[in-house]
């Protein structure tokens, strides 16, 4: 699934600028399961415009550069529906923190602790963030996706809270002599 398809998908939520689409991947509805940066969004919108799959309207703004608001055309909607008939690729996770934990024996104990604390804090934030969303009026499909994210964050936080000893056991023993 390329960024062009993702942009078409984002525009089904309503007209938006490149900047706003970026935010959908950063903090918005797509944040939990996909990402895209300016460097791929702006060229993608340009190409989609050329192909007639999206329309563009410039809104003058004082000071800031003109806002270019894109919208899905009928042709674009059809193209998106076509893309959605494919088989989705397998999920891809890339977690530098887990790589580091895996290689923890090559790490300084203090830094390991710092990385762990940051990682847990991050997942707690994510969880709190999803939990604070209002589900009223959200379509069941999207609640399914949101719930999936919630379940994942919850599982991650619980697991870390219950199993941190696996990462710190040896260090603790060395430092305190004995601790459970």
């Amino acid at each position: 699934m390329d960024v062009k398809t993702l942009c078409l998908g984002a525009l089904t939520l309503g007209n938006a600028s490149g900047y706003e689409i970026k935010k959908m991947f950063e903090e918005g509805p797509f944040a939990y399961f996909h990402q895209a940066g300016y460097g791929s969004i702006y060229p993608a919108l340009g190409k989609l415009c050329e192909e007639g799959l999206v329309s563009m309207q410039e809104h003058e703004q004082d000071g800031r550069p003109d806002k270019k608001v894109y919208g899905l055309t009928a042709k674009g909607k059809t193209a998106l529906e076509g893309k959605l008939t494919m088989q989705p690729a397998k999920d891809k996770v890339r977690s530098e923190a887990l790589v580091m934990f895996f290689l923890a024996e090559h790490m300084d104990a203090e830094h390991l602790r710092k990385v762990f604390d940051g990682y847990l804090a991050c997942y707690r934030d994510n969880l709190e963030c999803v939990n604070s969303l209002d589900d009223k009026g959200v379509s069941p499909h999207r609640l399914f996706v949101r719930g999936f994210g919630k379940a994942f964050y919850q599982a991650a936080v619980s697991y870390m809270e219950e199993n941190s000893h696996l990462l710190f056991a040896e260090t603790d023993l060395r430092k305190t002599g004995a601790s459970k």
Copy 2:
């Protein structure tokens, strides 16, 4: 974390060829939290060799091309330890299936069902696969990482089993007239 660093990390598990490193990301220990393809692994190993961070030894083989087995040098181990002092980037998930579920209203009901069934089956496989691993003799750090994967897979499978109705509710109503 670039592929060069990942290769150094993979080589801490023992000497390996590019092909074997790829498999570590495909089915092996890294499969659950990172990935890398030939197109990045082979150039990375070449560069690491030039920089003296890994050593290389060719093993003749009958028929198949010579196997090039790489090993971590002392300099390489130091370089890896240096890389592991950084702050890890945020986890990145990209799930085409979740994008599709999010946009399910634009999809054919039959295809949606097929995608869902495939997705659930895939996570069940993953879970079974991790559960069948033997934990004996594995260091606690690595058990932590493995357990994290297990927790995630378990959460995904349970969530999908319990909440599929959110994706199919409307369709079911249309087709059967009423079904809970």
